[in-house]
């Protein structure tokens, strides 16, 4: 069981808050969209806790984008939305287009959500590492659709190759009007968390 002190948790939450806010701002500038994203909650969790306490129901399909993190931090960054909101998200950025076929509309949405996820994940991670002078590498973004439990299981399987001890940092995001709500999940090894914390500590020493 991994435990952090209150101060350590506070530090991680603050750094994710900065990262995610920058990501949200970057998204609204780059896509010239009017999605005003705000961050209602950030929490540190273990697997069980996360599965029981999140905004997604166990049966619904989620759209998600993920990238693998390596070098000073090891793990995955995963951005998840309710599947139906992938449609809303795309439409709010590119406008409503007459639905062609299910397949064509889906292809458009997948492309759009992949890019949106890519922008948010990389903006968030680059803001974080810029703050604390760490070096990381991210791999190609991937898009998929699954139920929550399948997402978590497949992602954990990959991260467990580095280490059995995994910490989740969940940042919830919401658009004004709450019609789009999602989660950015940072799945990191315990040693990655230690690297983050020592990076933050270094910031606080002159």
């Amino acid at each position: 069981m991994i435990s952090l002190t209150t101060i350590q948790e506070d530090a991680l939450i603050e750094i994710c808050n900065v990262g995610m806010s920058k990501a949200a701002k970057q998204l609204s500038i780059l896509l010239n969209s009017h999605i005003n994203i705000h961050i209602p909650k950030i929490s540190l969790l273990d697997m069980q806790h996360f599965i029981q306490n999140n905004i997604f129901s166990s049966i619904e399909t989620l759209s998600y984008v993920y990238q693998t993190i390596s070098e000073d931090l090891l793990g995955r960054a995963i951005l998840m939305f309710h599947r139906a909101q992938a449609t809303l998200l795309t439409q709010s950025v590119i406008g409503i287009t007459p639905k062609l076929t299910e397949k064509e509309a889906k292809a458009c949405e997948q492309e759009a959500v992949l890019e949106i996820g890519n922008i948010m994940i990389t903006s968030c991670m680059s803001a974080i590492v810029n703050m604390i002078s760490l070096h990381i590498k991210l791999d190609t973004p991937h898009y998929n659709e699954h139920r929550l439990i399948e997402v978590i299981e497949s992602q954990v399987k990959d991260v467990e190759k580095y280490s059995q001890e995994i910490i989740l940092i969940e940042t919830r995001l919401e658009s004004a009007g709450k019609f789009i709500s999602g989660s950015l999940l940072l799945m990191l090894t315990k040693s990655s968390i230690d690297n983050l914390l020592s990076g933050i500590n270094n910031l606080l020493k002159v």
């Binding site: 129901s57 007459p98 492309e111 949106i116 890519n118 922008i119 990389t122 903006s123 680059s126 659709e145």
Partner: protein, 306 residues
């Protein structure tokens, strides 16, 4: 045969993709033949300049941010056609409504002694976009002109109004009544959210099949909205109309949907009546059914109100 540097260079030059490399100061250090051919900018001219220098009219924001992400977190970037249309402005006059080449662009990090270089890969997807646009136009047009709903193949709203006008005129002459019933699938939006849009389409089709199998040949069934349907029953009074509506309601409630675990299908229905003694307009008839449907929802759904 060993693939040597010269061969790699040849491959890089002749791939049917735009390829160029930017150094850590965002200057072009490599520019392939495809780029020369499409942009008319020679290699010697491009090297040492930034993309902003080479294309001053271009909107840089997304592209510059992508390159920045390569330099800081070595993260591959996707710049989709869906969201950006194109990055490098290359005029295109093949298709009437497309002025610039439509592009799918990806940027990859390349390691070097001086930090991360950015490899930009440009795919021309203009043909695909044109095809998609054309088909969307056709689909729109068909939908507008036809009398049938694209998904379920039953009649659509456009048909409804013309048909109802005719029916009312006939009912006046023949001195009989028309019963109108509006159905709405309960919690349809939730099913869409839980199981996805294609599930929603299946549910709608399933409902339509059920109704088609239940109504009489003189009845007309129309798709009125996303999950709303109208059943027009000439020569029918309110009692018989509500019996039929209730039969449909029960059949739908009892229907098992094996693919959608946890989905309980129910519908609500509201009835209205056109009779010679109370000859309302077609719009009023539908509005009355709508109001009755609203009452059915208020009563807790899965019921018929008239």
């Amino acid at each position: 045969m060993i693939i040597n540097d010269f061969l790699y260079e040849e491959i890089f030059q002749y791939l049917p993709l735009g390829l160029f490399v930017l150094d850590s100061k965002c200057n072009v250090i490599f520019w392939n033949e495809w780029m020369v051919e499409k942009t008319k900018i020679k290699k010697e001219h491009a090297i040492g300049k930034t993309i902003g220098n080479l294309f001053p009219s271009m909107k840089h924001e997304r592209f510059n941010n992508a390159v920045e992400q390569i330099q800081t977190v070595a993260s591959p970037q996707v710049l989709s056609q869906t969201l950006n249309h194109y990055i490098i402005p290359i005029p295109s006059n093949i298709y009437e409504k497309i002025d610039y080449m439509q592009q799918h662009v990806e940027v990859f990090p390349l390691k070097s002694k001086l930090g991360w270089l950015a490899l930009v890969v440009i795919q021309d997807v203009t043909d695909n976009v044109h095809q998609k646009n054309t088909m969307m136009q056709m689909a729109s047009k068909l939908e507008e002109e036809s009398y049938h709903d694209a998904l379920t193949a039953i009649y659509n709203r456009r048909f409804l109004w013309e048909y109802l006008e005719q029916q009312i005129a006939q009912a006046k002459r023949g001195n009989y009544s028309i019963c109108c019933c509006m159905f709405d699938l309960d919690y349809f939006k939730k099913a869409n959210d839980d199981f996805g849009h294609s599930a929603g389409d299946q549910i709608l089709t399933s409902f339509v099949n059920l109704i088609n199998g239940t109504v009489r040949s003189s009845d007309v069934f129309v798709r009125y909205g996303g999950e709303e349907f109208l059943l027009i029953m000439p020569h029918t009074d309110i009692t018989d109309g509500s019996k039929l509506a209730n039969k449909i309601r029960v059949l739908w409630e009892e229907k098992i949907h094996a693919n959608f675990i946890g989905y309980k299908s129910t519908c609500s229905a509201g009835l209205s009546l056109w009779k010679p003694k109370n000859p309302v307009s077609s719009q009023e008839l539908v509005d009355l059914a709508d109001k009755a449907l609203y009452k059915a929802k208020e009563k807790g759904r899965n019921c018929v109100v008239f």
